[in-house]
Amino acid sequence: MIELADIVKTYGVGDVATHVLKGVSFCVEKGEYVAIMGASGTGKTTLMNILGLLDKPTAGRYQLEDNDVVTLDDEALSHLRNRRIGFVFQQFHLLNRANALRNVMLPLIYTDQYPEDAEDRAKQVLESVGLADRMRYNPNELSGGQQQRVAIARALINDPAIILADEPTGNLDSKSGIEILAIFKRLHKQGRTIIVITHDKNVAEHADRIIVLKDGQIAEDKPVTQPRDAETELKELACKEDLS
């Protein structure tokens, strides 16, 4: 489904050139839950931007489903981002002056066929992330965890092939973080492909597979033998709170 081959990303030219990615290759199959790990400066954000079609590699091949991405123009890339990729950002990136419902419907504006049932669909995905009673709230009236759930609902509205999350729990307290990971786990069980970029081992271990980046290259690519289960951890957390 995703196939990266010798992806190179270089900023600048000649002596001042910075090689951020030095030949990265891996495949992600449909339905996989992959974590891409690495300390800051290892090129994981650049990799995420390339995976998300927000940036183009300097060299290499990127196959996303049937598309040879490197050859596509801006319009085709925009279309792919809109239909096939759901973004979840560390800073949520919600429109502050629009309520949850309108934020979730935002990607639909840029689809070629605006669905008749746009609002119903938005309500459905908001319900699925547990925000049925918060649809008319503006982001500043929501907690961080709730905001991130709005962002996930927005990522899901166009039924994308991949959920691409960049440090999705980075701005959240541990409980809200686990709640978000629980949603990811559920989406994964429903058969969605999920790629989470993180520096946090505790987040990465929820995935089935961890790719570790080091100095712009893949240092490690291994399956997780016993992925952590967010649902269970959430229950444990609830018990602890009850005890104390």
Binding site: L54, E75, S78, H93, R97, I109, Y110, N158
Partner: protein
Amino acid sequence: MRILRLAQEGAHALLAHKLRTFFMMAGTLIGVSALTVIMTISVGTARKLKEQISKWPYDVIKVNAGGGKGYTMPQDGITTLVPADTEAVQNQIDNVVMVTSVAEKRGLSIKGNSRQTGTSVFSIQPNWHEVMDWYIDQGESVTDEDIATMARVCVLGAAIREELFGEQDPIGEMVQVGNVSLRVKGILKPRGTGPSGRASDDRILVPLSTGLRRLFNQEHLSYIRLTVRDPDRIEDTGETRLERTAEEVRKLLHERHHITPPQEDDFSIVHAAIVMQEIRPISKAATLLLIVLAGLSLVVGGIVLMNIMLVSVSERTEEIGLRRALGATRGDIFIQFLNESLAMTLLGIVVGGVLGWVASVLLAKFRNLSIGNSWELFALIVVFALLVGMFSGVQPARRAAKLQPVEALR
């Protein structure tokens, strides 16, 4: 429609920042309303002028006391134009049908029927009616005998008659101008407004001799008025006969008043050709200046709009990046931002147009200005404002569209 949804996004952004939105609109609003006011007033004034000019009879030459160029008025205190000049014109100039002398004074108080008002007093000769093509409605007018005897009689304009006597019959009644009592012997037909814009019916007529000796105590005239036979006939010199005759009158008066150019004339000649030539360029120049000023305000408004939009684009970098990530193409972003500028321009045009029209109506009411409307000119204003708005909107929209999603989301 995708474009409608994009427009809706723009509308949301505008509603969310009301003060900024207002400033975006302000320049266009002020410019368009100023241009609308200028348009209505210049159209109105031009129309009024045209109406007045059309009232000026084509065969008439008027010689006013006092110098000046163009459409002059007789000046008080110039004593050199005298009845003998009228006789000289009558006897020495060809193609003159009639000549008449007039001495007028404005703002004199008149009493009658135990009421009092102010009016203009015209001292005239009997042929005044023919020269002016303006006749008696009731009673009779000034006669040669009245002039010979300096008779204490007068003819009332319709407005004065109405003011002093109302529905009563004024013929034979006495009125008093200064300390001279005059017997009313006739009423003039009502005429409305004259070429100079003054109310024509607010006047009384007295015999020339009575006016000069008894009322004004002077020897000189305010103006001489003459009619020319076949005024538009082309003379050997290439001029019309009207212009030719005016020149002859000028030469005669130079001789009689001992004036040698470049010494300035102590009289001025007005006829239809001069009225048409002289008034228009003046009002045109003034209108042009106003148009340039208002146009500049529109351009300045456009610059303000552009700057606000540029600031808005850099403030909303993150939003633009997000929209790009969610699937907006460069074109979508461009359209959304251009929409915002154009919507503000359109709103500015509508509100400015209405405001300008209201201001025009108020000016017309309280400042006694004539207003008119020309859809062609208004369309020109709208097109100009739209062009300015378009130019102001394109640059910021292009900048927004050019942002790289990666950089915008940072």
